[in-house]
Symmetry: C2
Subunit: 716 residues, 2 copies
Amino acid sequence: MDITWVTPVAALIALLYVVYAMSYVLRKNEGSEKTKEISLAIREGAYAYLAQQYKIVGIFFAVIFVLLLYLSFGAKLLTPFVPFAFLTGGFFSGLSGFIGMAIATRANARTAWAARDGLNPGLRVAFTAGSVMGMVVVGLGLLDLSLWYYGLRWYYGSVVGLDQAETIKRITEAMITFGMGASSMALFARVGGGIYTKSADVGADIVGKVEAGIPEDDPRNPATIADNVGDNVGDVAGMGADLYESYVGSIVATMALGVVAFPESPLRAITIPMSMAALGVLASILGTFLVQTKDNKASQEVLLKALRKGIYGSSLLIAIFAAVAVYYVMGKENFGIWGSIFVGLLAGNLIGFFTEYFTSASYKPTRDLSAQSQTGAATLVIGGLSLGMLSTWISVVIVGAAVVAAYYLAGGAMSIARGLYGISIAAVGMLSTLGITLSTDAYGPVADNAGGIAEMAGDAGGLGSEVRERTDALDALGNTTAATGKGYAIGSAALTALALLAAFKDEIERVVRATNPDFSLIANVISVETLTGLFIGAMAPFLFSALTMSAVGRAANKMVEEVRRQFKEKPGILKGTDKPDYKRCVRISTEAAQLEMILPALIAIIIPVLVGTLLGVRALVGVLAGALVSGFPMAIMMANAGGAWDNAKKYIENGHFGGKHSDAHKAGVVGDTIGDPLKDTSGPSLNILIKLMSMVSIVFGSTILVLNQLFGLFKI
Amino acid sequence: MDITWVTPVAALIALLYVVYAMSYVLRKNEGSEKTKEISLAIREGAYAYLAQQYKIVGIFFAVIFVLLLYLSFGAKLLTPFVPFAFLTGGFFSGLSGFIGMAIATRANARTAWAARDGLNPGLRVAFTAGSVMGMVVVGLGLLDLSLWYYGLRWYYGSVVGLDQAETIKRITEAMITFGMGASSMALFARVGGGIYTKSADVGADIVGKVEAGIPEDDPRNPATIADNVGDNVGDVAGMGADLYESYVGSIVATMALGVVAFPESPLRAITIPMSMAALGVLASILGTFLVQTKDNKASQEVLLKALRKGIYGSSLLIAIFAAVAVYYVMGKENFGIWGSIFVGLLAGNLIGFFTEYFTSASYKPTRDLSAQSQTGAATLVIGGLSLGMLSTWISVVIVGAAVVAAYYLAGGAMSIARGLYGISIAAVGMLSTLGITLSTDAYGPVADNAGGIAEMAGDAGGLGSEVRERTDALDALGNTTAATGKGYAIGSAALTALALLAAFKDEIERVVRATNPDFSLIANVISVETLTGLFIGAMAPFLFSALTMSAVGRAANKMVEEVRRQFKEKPGILKGTDKPDYKRCVRISTEAAQLEMILPALIAIIIPVLVGTLLGVRALVGVLAGALVSGFPMAIMMANAGGAWDNAKKYIENGHFGGKHSDAHKAGVVGDTIGDPLKDTSGPSLNILIKLMSMVSIVFGSTILVLNQLFGLFKI
């Protein structure tokens, strides 16, 4: 029985939830004139950024679209659907980001206002706004997949007249290249958003906190609106696009691998990833309703428990749903596949837990780090780097164990193809809770913004100090979920990249076997081409991080100069008698982010094509694997070092080691500032790098094979 | 014709040079009572460290020796020579370090005193002292190789009665495991020395410069002698042991690979690496005599040119010698091997050049970095990390291109074995100039110490301000050569590790083929075991760096507490009326270094054995390759970021951006302090990690195969 229809149904349910959640948020009171005004400024800034981003994205998509058109219709190297799938993938990813941000930037003042009634009402507004992002990503992702799935099924089945098995095979061969649009959009949203948010943040901090001595989010700081906009474009739109890519990428990769692994029953093999995603939507929606407490005066711990209840509850539901689905679809003899799914779910939750362990001031590592601020900034920085590096081993062991277990449980001992399918379905399992995990993630910036608005509006704007205390508590909770979310994003990116790597192998073999039926793609580590590829690939995350990090530095400098200029030309700003020009600061970050993003983007696209052409696909496999295995620990290191510095500073601010304005606190601020671009720009951008290089390799695989025959030093 | 006799002859020539250079240094005047006293204190500290290190090393060697005895004579998994070769390798490596340090710590005061007559006399003393280290390493390395080579030749030829080809084959099979002793000693010298030197340096800086406000090398600082001892144990003994390991490892690996690549003429194949090393000794000695200028008032640029003349002159000579040797030994048809050697030489010099480019204040990157200190420590640190990461791509491209070229030039297109031999001989080519490159390296700490002695002795000790200016100039020159030397050490470690990886493959194939003649070790990147191995391997440098970095932090903290205690208990110290207790500080660093080294050491040894046992040799290949491809860029990043911060600070001190005591300078000190453990502890320790894991895998290869059959999840 064909139950792939659950996917479009789930997509519709997710989108219906989005409509419900949007109306819930919009019904709330946006507060006083003052809060409305600030919220509007942030919203306008966010839209200005998006408008600018869409311009650049438009140019990029146009160029790639034409190239794909040529490769499809001119060179006949791709199926004719790819260029259009590329556009829809980009469109739906962009639309998710737009809707998510539209609500996030409308929920910030409403959250602050709701916090007047207590922590819980504030949490409900912020979390519901976050859940719009979570659900719109999975809803539109599944909608895009469903449209193409049914379109292609109709085309191959009815128009071309293939039988079911052949139809499914063709569908998955075409769909595996469809992630490129989502990948490209993610590149712009994540990398551009990351540069934006941290250039604004670091710039605002340097002139505001350090030079002028005014607190965070002070309305006198011209960069403060840009800083708040940055939270939205980086942590809402950027994170959403990143996970949209993982979500879609892992599902299509698993479908493609499933057809190869189970040639006798391809429909069943693709039903599993599609239905897992669908069931995840239901579990996530049910989970969101668990996120509340009866107690309007609930403490932060209680709220954190509420959020965890949502995530763990959803995970449990999915595990049960998955058991039924696998048993029903694949039969008792293939029930090991459920084990692979469970392993993925478990790994996601474990990585989240250990990320929190290493970055939260509730645990020993960050507390010890905080103490190192007493001997100055240098020891704090060394300690943070060391903590970040040390934390990598647990994540690597978790992912390594998950990969081995998923491989075996799915039947890797019988057939390698089944093992690879197991790894891939583990990625889908990990991402099946995306609806709710992304909700808790996107909650963070809403709460952060609410705090900013409370600070800027002040008593005059109707938000007294007890509201600011509550928004601070909501913000602190958001920091915890942001750290956990980062670990989850990195872990799922790594598993998705593994799935894409396996899919790349199948894709190359499929193409080459047309002329050479015995071909197997074996990339031997002890061969000069693969080893050289590994070297280049392992270096790529260093290069990519260097570029994104220095981009933040340059963009932050522009911001510093602008703020200094405003302070100098209008001395009334600091006295509070003159209004700063927020828009100019927003424009500076926007333009800098888009400009600085071009070089890293080109590198991510050019390296695989260039290496594949010159050194062949065996070297290209080395590049993809090298980037994955060095990029994964590096992303973890950056995320955890940055998170730990952030919370170490907050720990000092809470009165330890001399508290605010002590020397230890000054050192803490240095650590936090260094961590900012690591954890919010370079680290997350690596998620994109490792997936995008694989996706580019898949899409341009047949092209690379042709170019390699012409120009290659090493050939197949 | 058999010309392997050139190797022992070259060993003797090198050792004769050592005797000459030692007597040259010792004939110089050690200066006033004051300088003699300080020099003696440093020397005693260095000996105290060595004595402590030898104790730990003794225990470690005893344990491994017993284990090897069992594996050789009990389990019959190794040739009976391995345990004894292990001891000799460790002994000669340790002896080199001892002699090098004995002279370096006797040359420091003599250099300072000679600098009274001008820069050039100071340079001559310091450089000659450094050349003792350079030449004793190559001399004793070749002596150890020669003793075993002739011993085994006599044993297999005369005693066992094998023919020449079979004798050579057996010799190389035995000798490939001989690097383990040198590797183990390098682990202790490099990692322990690295922790020592930076804990003393950072500890002395934090209390001295930051808290008490006294200058570097001030005699009132109780940690100042420990700091000067550290320069010797880290940069002389540590660097020497590191390169001794590369030197011996690359030669034995090339011999082993040569026998596989040229089965019809094994003697010729092993003659090339042996004679290359021998010719390198001659070229290096000739090169050392080029290091001088007629001008006693020469500027720093002139001195740098003199050093370069020595290195480039030696490289050129070796290129010529090698052409003759390859043509004569291997014939016209194999002349491509000369190409591989040349590529290695060129790559070594190029990496050295680019290291200097990225870390010297004469070039744009470090100057730009220095400017970032104006916006505070945070931007300077971000800038330095970014610079370090960016700099990795050039080195990776150089090594990648060198590997591909060396592979092809040696005939990789005909046979993979020849290609791998080409990569390996490129490593020997790069290291053939070791005699002189290590001399310029070991020159640095002597000059640094001379500066320290000049500062401590002062006018009262007969060393006026013009001497301190000269020793500062010599020291600055030493910083440049140290940075270049680090690049060279990393590059040669990477090539050596590649050679060892290829040798590991041959070794495993040899063992398995005894029972399964068709076996080939293919570690496919897209297989779950190899991929998991790659993940674990790529994470290892992160873990190793975290441990060494936090070790420095803890050890430095102990030092800070001790210095604070002394200042508190004897207030006369800071007034100059009471003498600080230097010895206690020396003891603290010594004990901390040895204690903190144990965990990283165990990890480097346990990871390969554990992975090989549980996941099999295909996973183990992944671990070795993963550690190599992520450890190489990481080591470069750390070395270059650290070097650039160091020189950015000096650039500020030379009067830029406000000069000494400005806010920019304070930021510069923070950057420099962060860079210290990166460039002098963690970064160089990675050289050891990547080589040692390969060496352990080779030595315990047959044991791992047996354990894997018993306990493995994945088996061959």
